[in-house]
């Protein structure tokens, strides 16, 4: 019923909800949260919120941020989204050094591993590349024209990542596809050679991540609207294992706790040793951890970490240097939402790594707010408020909006007959509830 109510809300409102995003500096220097057009950064070394400055000569964000990322080195950070701006930030000073204008809205962004290029995907499924080299000195350079390097025909890119060795760029889309493309030495001429397609998802692919056991062997993990997490040999496009999250949730939860039937995967995040995959699931208050046996090429259930009832993470992040898993929940663009209500809730899980010795001391668990690094200062900066009661109220509304956000962002606007019937029936519920 929840579900149908939410879909009606979607029909009546023209705005699109934007889920809150989180990214962690690879070496643990800082954490960034994006909510609506706001970018909040906290410096973990100094223990202070960062004030961003912009000398790129470009506009600041005026639309929902849809994608953020750090470069592998940690030197650069990017934010982009509905306002068609791709902003590149230097993380030492948190100055914006470059504002690139895209012709279309942007849905995904990534840096090549050497920090030389930034790539972003527009809403037509075209991936554009900009050379960042001239910016080495920190100077604001004239906007070099972005070049299109590849495209997913008329689809929307949901996730884009470079392989750990930098040889490949992987792009996932709403049409169930993951494309792995060789990233050439001179990418300005385009990335035309496809290494593989990873096909197996039976609904949209929402997120992809690389994970590796050794320097020269890595794998791809993906999550999707079909409620599966999949492990791929991306060099050959072979599906190695599929973990059915929905089935597992069915075993774990009481039937009446499963009000949301889709259980689409919202985000995944591998631990720095590659042995665990954290999974955020639409409609589930908490995080599921999967053990990822890269040698045995298997995904298996490790545990679920449940959180307060209305806390459903929208985004996950971790860094190479620490065992913390950062999770955030929030949404913007909700009807009747004042900007002062751009609240997010942050929860952090410690010991996000696989341990053979499973004692309660080193088992992954959620930190209390008082245990969070830099405590209230960090929470205040990244959440926007410490008032948990107020938070909960807002989060409850975020919760229902999020379901829509997933649907709207990712699911096709085509409903099966069955679904249409459900929607019709749901209409009355909606009236009663609102």
């Amino acid at each position: 019923m929840e579900d149908t109510t939410v879909e009606e809300a979607e029909v009546s409102s023209a705005v699109e909800f934007a889920p809150a995003l989180i990214a962690a500096h690879p070496h643990g220097n800082s954490v960034a949260v994006a909510i609506g057009l706001e970018l909040r950064v906290f410096d973990l070394r100094s223990g202070c919120p960062v004030s961003l400055s912009d000398d790129s000569g470009g506009r600041s964000h005026s639309g929902s941020i849809r994608a953020i990322c750090f470069s592998v080195s940690g030197a650069l950070f990017a934010s982009t989204g509905d306002d068609k701006l791709v902003k590149v930030w230097k993380t030492d000073s948190w100055r914006c050094i470059r504002t690139i204008s895209s012709e279309k809205r942007v849905s995904a962004v990534a840096f090549s591993n050497n920090d030389l290029y930034i790539t972003y995907a527009d809403k037509f499924g075209v991936i554009w590349l900009v050379n960042l080299e001239e910016d080495g000195s920190g100077h604001v350079s004239v906007d070099i024209k972005p070049v299109s390097i590849l495209g997913h025909y008329c689809s929307i890119i949901t996730s884009m990542k470079f392989s750990p060795d930098g040889r490949f760029i992987a792009t996932a889309d709403r049409d169930f596809k993951i494309r792995v493309t060789l990233f050439p030495k001179n990418p300005l001429k385009g990335a035309h050679e496809i290494q593989s397609f990873c096909l197996g998802h039976t609904d949209f692919v929402s997120c992809i991540a690389f994970t590796s056991i050794s320097e020269n062997q890595s794998f791809l993990v993906s999550g999707g609207g079909d409620s599966t997490v999949r492990l791929w040999d991306y060099i050959n496009g072979c599906l190695l294992d599929t973990f059915e999250v929905r089935d597992k949730m069915g075993e774990l939860l009481e039937p009446n706790d499963q009000d949301d039937s889709s259980q689409a995967i919202a985000d995944i995040c591998p631990s720095n040793d590659g042995s665990l995959i954290a999974v955020a699931i639409q409609g589930f208050s908490g995080v599921m951890l999967l053990a990822c046996d890269l040698a045995g090429k298997k995904l298996s259930f490790r545990k679920v970490i449940t959180m307060e009832k209305s806390y459903i993470p929208t985004s996950l992040a971790s860094s190479f240097s620490s065992e913390l898993l950062w999770t955030v929940m929030g949404a913007s663009n909700m009807p009747s939402q004042a900007s002062s209500q751009l609240l997010t809730r942050l929860r952090i899980i410690r010991c996000f790594q696989n341990d053979t010795v499973s004692s309660s001391d080193n088992d992954p668990a959620t930190l209390e707010d008082s245990e969070v690094p830099h405590g209230e200062k960090l929470l205040m900066a990244l959440q926007g408020s410490l008032d948990i009661a107020k938070q909960e109220e807002v989060l409850a509304s975020v919760l229902s909006a999020l379901k829509v956000s997933m649907h709207k962002m990712l699911v096709k606007k085509h409903y099966s007959e069955e679904r249409r019937e459900q929607r019709k029936r749901g209409r009355n519920d909606k009236k009663i509830k609102s």
Binding site: S148, H192, F197
Partner: protein
């Protein structure tokens, strides 16, 4: 290419799996749990080439009563030619006797047209026993789903005959030949494979040629090879569209290129 899903044409659908004398594989049932895996299209699309059921298209090449697993060593044949936007299927019918042992498929978006081609092929098979068993047609949007049907380096020939011109600049991205889509065609073609394009619209002819010339994975076929290739004649004579153009005395423009491997400087 190896695959954990097991190479092989058979066994996509439930009834096929049992018809092939193999145990139905659970995986397939699971995928079918979603009534229509590609929900925005109104035709079924295989989730991956492994699930593209060839036995239904080429029954003579996939006899259902094949003996046990021991014979799996002999690889099942694969589709080698694809006629993209095949229309009424004239090219397939022309090619079939020229390459009697090569599996070919037409890909067509329009439902009625696809049905027609199906009927046409069945009728040809019925009246010419032992012939036309190597051609078939599938209803699909080739611009979205090519990798769902073919594996890497599987095809030796691809045909794009008299495609829709989409004159307006803003519609150029709807053209079946573009830099983006050539990446996918290059992926499904083997090195050495040949892509044939022809049109009566000069502007489109220039466009297709220039895309192919710019693309690093294709190289123009030398004129002598084009002359010697028996397939080339069919481009301007075999299809319904080509015959219409010929009747009206129209000019045609072809671009025929070879898939090459990437030379990085």
């Amino acid at each position: 290419m190896t695959s954990t899903n097991g190479a092989g044409g058979g066994g996509g659908r439930q009834h096929q799996a049992s018809a092939a004398g193999k145990l139905p594989r659970k995986r397939f049932y699971r995928a079918r749990a979603h009534s229509n895996p590609l929900s925005d299209s109104h035709f079924p699309v295989p989730v991956s080439p492994d699930e593209f059921d060839l036995s239904q298209h080429y029954p003579r090449y996939f006899p259902g009563d094949k003996a046990g697993d021991g014979e799996e060593a002999a690889l099942p044949p694969r589709i080698r030619f694809a006629d993209v936007g095949c229309g009424f299927g004239g090219l397939l019918v022309g090619l079939s006797p020229l390459f009697p042992d090569t599996l070919m498929i037409g890909m067509e978006l329009r439902d009625k047209v696809t049905e027609y081609v199906k009927e046409r092929i069945l009728a040809l098979r019925a009246s010419n026993p032992g012939q036309y068993d190597n051609i078939s047609v599938v209803r699909t949007n080739s611009m979205k789903y090519i990798p769902n049907y073919f594996r890497k380096a599987q095809l030796t020939k691809m045909f794009f005959l008299f495609p829709d011109p989409h004159f307006k600049e803003k519609n150029h991205r709807r053209r079946v030949i573009s830099m983006q889509l050539l990446d996918e065609y290059a992926y499904v073609m083997e090195v050495g494979g040949i892509i044939y394009t022809i049109t009566d619209v000069e502007e489109l002819g220039d466009w297709m040629r220039s895309c192919l010339e710019k693309h690093p994975l294709f190289e123009a076929l030398p004129e002598e090879e084009i002359k010697a290739d028996p397939v080339v004649k069919l481009l301007s004579t075999a299809t319904e569209e080509s015959q219409k153009v010929a009747r009206n005395g129209g000019q045609t423009f072809h671009a025929i290129f070879r898939r090459i491997s990437l030379q990085e400087e």
